[in-house]
């Protein structure tokens, strides 16, 4: 191994350890490790200005393809399209939340099913999955879990099974589209896939898995949830959905912008607008229509996550430029010995197991160049490996309370309201559900792509 490779690996491992230890905020960790990669790996060891330039990838902004893409292309280094898209969606989501959109939607659905616990349980699972196809799962669970607890207090049922099911379905829904989960955005923008590519590939299996998951959770949880009040509920005495709307005008505008974002995403393969353009357009539109509240929305954007992404892409760029990821790809190629089934199974299950314990975003960012290299050397279509990676990272994260952001937020909201969820309680039902969904995904990948 060369000095550059050794330093790239050491920096990457140190970054992962520091993220897990949680002593330093994770954006400082990735930015610090990114700076080390640029100076030590690229500057001192490789003496390569072009490696630094390629990894920073700032010149991409000036290209037409960054904003308007007729032919699909792959990207390297800092994935600015991902960052811009996530930032744009963050602004939009803040606008929607401020107008009371999410709380209204949750309450509206609860009222549509007449506030009956089992129908709420089922519709909230479906809503969690559908919303997570377009909006980050953290926001979805933040609102859904809070409303679930509120309804649980009013209707006297245990909210924990419902929150657990919502978390699982949010992660599952996220796997269905390109913008559903950060690993998918990274996979999609890095490898040049469209929203529709995801929907017709991972989306199809996610839909099948959602049906299975709803049945599974109904079987394991319905007794616990149905144990609410036997008395008929007078829904006129409950807080009405309209009370959730803080400002009617803002509510209508934010709903229209959300609808527009969905349309732009679904049609972006036809309009050739990249996700970066869509993210920017949605953010600008939200800010213009929010008037004097624009500054407040900008302040609420989670800059730490965006900075985390920037540092992360640089560190992964270090592994890529030094050839480490190619070595890993060759290793996977060797152990699978040209057996494509084994290769897919390894990517899906290793991604799932890793994502159950470590952040799936750095994992996916690391794996993208690996599957690119593996595809080139083993002659396996990149699409097949990409869907295996997306499904593995998105679904695997559901298995433990720390596997995905939605799990952390959901369990935290529950605990803060007097319903702590231990690892045992969480894994007892969600780990088997994860295994079932992964097994379905394995069969699906084998049947459809081999």
């Amino acid at each position: 191994m060369t000095a550059a490779q050794i330093f790239a690996v050491v920096i990457f491992v140190a970054m992962f350890v520091l993220i897990v230890l949680d002593k330093i905020e994770r954006h400082f960790v990735t930015l610090g490790c990114g700076a080390l990669t640029l100076t030590v790996v690229f500057g001192i060891c490789m003496r390569s200005g072009s490696a630094i330039w390629d990894t920073i990838a700032i010149k991409g902004f000036a290209t037409k393809e960054f904003w308007y893409q007729v032919t699909e292309s792959e990207s390297k280094g800092i994935n600015w399209a991902t960052i811009l898209f996530i930032a744009g969606m963050m602004v939009m989501v803040e606008g929607m939340a401020k107008a009371g959109f999410f709380r209204w939607l949750c309450m509206k659905i609860a009222f549509l099913v007449k506030c009956k616990t089992i129908p709420i349980f089922i519709t909230f699972m479906v809503m969690s999955a559908v919303l997570s196809m377009f909006i980050d799962s953290i926001t979805v669970i933040m609102f859904l879990a809070a409303v679930t607890i509120e309804l649980a207090q009013l209707l006297k049922f245990n909210p924990v099974p419902m929150i657990l099911s919502e978390i699982f379905c949010a992660n599952l829904g996220g796997s269905a589209t390109m913008c559903g989960d950060p690993p998918n955005i990274i996979v999609g923008t890095s490898l040049g896939f469209s929203f529709f590519d995801f929907l017709t590939n991972t989306g199809l299996v996610a839909g099948i898995c959602l049906v299975v998951s709803v049945i599974f959770f109904y079987i394991v949880f319905h007794k616990e949830i149905a144990g609410g009040t036997d008395k008929p509920v007078d829904i006129s005495k409950l807080p009405q959905p309209s009370e959730a709307i803080t400002n009617k005008k803002d509510f209508i505008i934010s709903s229209i912008i959300f609808g527009l974002a969905v349309v732009l995403l679904i049609t972006h393969a036809t309009t050739h607008l990249t996700v970066a353009t869509i993210g920017l357009a949605i953010a600008v539109l939200t800010l213009i229509t929010s008037g004097k509240d624009a500054l407040e929305l900008i302040k609420k954007v989670d800059y730490k996550t965006l900075l985390f992404f920037i540092g992360l892409f640089v560190v992964v760029g270090g592994l890529e430029e030094t050839g480490i990821l190619k070595l890993i790809a060759d290793f996977i190629g060797r152990i699978s010995d040209g057996n494509v089934k084994l290769m897919i199974a390894i990517i899906l299950w290793v991604s799932a197991i890793a994502s159950a314990f470590v952040d799936n975003i750095p994992f996916a960012a690391t794996m993208v160049p690996i599957i690119q290299s593996l595809s080139a050397s083993a002659g396996v279509p990149i699409e097949t490996l990409a869907w295996a990676l997306s499904l593995g990272t998105d679904i695997g994260g559901s298995a433990t309370p720390i596997g995905a952001s939605a799990n952390v937020v959901g369990t935290s909201v529950a605990a803060k309201n007097g319903h702590p969820i231990s690892w045992g309680r969480y894994c007892k039902k969600l780990a088997p559900a994860t295994v079932i969904v992964l097994a379905i995904s394995t069969v699906y990948l084998f049947a459809r792509y081999l």
């Binding site: 230890l21 720390i402 309201n417």
Partner: protein
């Protein structure tokens, strides 16, 4: 009377809790220690035993994760609830004594705060723990070390500053020097002087 918040940090076996209880009696103000657990239990619907299980304990690093201020760690969430509780009490203008819970740092912006840290000689602490918990010397030492290690990790994690560092407290006092009663008397005088100063502002 101006608001008075007495924050008592303590080493295990130093008599800190007894000192805090007596100070609460002498100043005729409520104390939040075990009572804090009961109040949070009532508020959340959790049992006091459940809260006790995670009380003043550091989270398990490997099995915990934080996302945008949300944590899956039950220890973290219980701690946060307790911090919010004492903060709300302080904001309401109430006077009280609070034991531990990083209160010297969490409430440092309240002008009525008097923060003390009670330490003790190891031998004296062992004798006290042996008597109260009916343990032999070896077990008592191990028990003290284990408890203090947890308190230290809990404090340092939530505050980022060193537990027991004299710079964090208005006063650090070794209860083995004056004895428990003597320490209480001394602290009472000090707190009265501080309260008078606060009153005159």
């Amino acid at each position: 009377m101006a608001q008075l918040i007495i924050s008592v940090g303590r080493e295990f076996g130093s008599g800190g809790r007894v000192i805090a209880e007596e100070l609460a009696k002498r100043f005729n103000i409520p104390i939040y220690d075990r009572h804090l657990i009961t109040e949070i239990a009532e508020k959340t619907g959790l049992s006091p035993e459940e809260i006790e299980k995670y009380n003043e304990k550091p989270k398990h690093i490997i099995i915990s994760r934080k996302v945008r201020g949300y944590s899956n760690s039950i220890e973290d969430n219980i701690a946060e609830m307790q911090f919010n509780f004492i903060r709300e009490k302080a904001e309401s203008g109430e006077s009280f004594v609070v034991v531990g819970r990083c209160s010297e740092s969490k409430l440092k912006n309240f002008s009525g705060l008097v923060s003390v840290f009670i330490l003790g000689d190891m031998d004296a602490k062992i004798q006290r723990v042996m008597k109260i918990y009916e343990m032999d010397e070896h077990d008592a030492r191990e028990f003290i070390e284990k408890k203090d290690k947890k308190r230290k990790r809990y404090h340092n994690y939530h505050v980022g500053l060193h537990w027991g560092d004299s710079r964090l407290y208005d006063l650090s006092i070794n209860s083995s020097r004056l004895g428990i009663e003597g320490t209480i008397d001394y602290l009472e005088q000090y707190i009265k002087a501080r309260a008078a100063l606060e009153e005159s502002k």
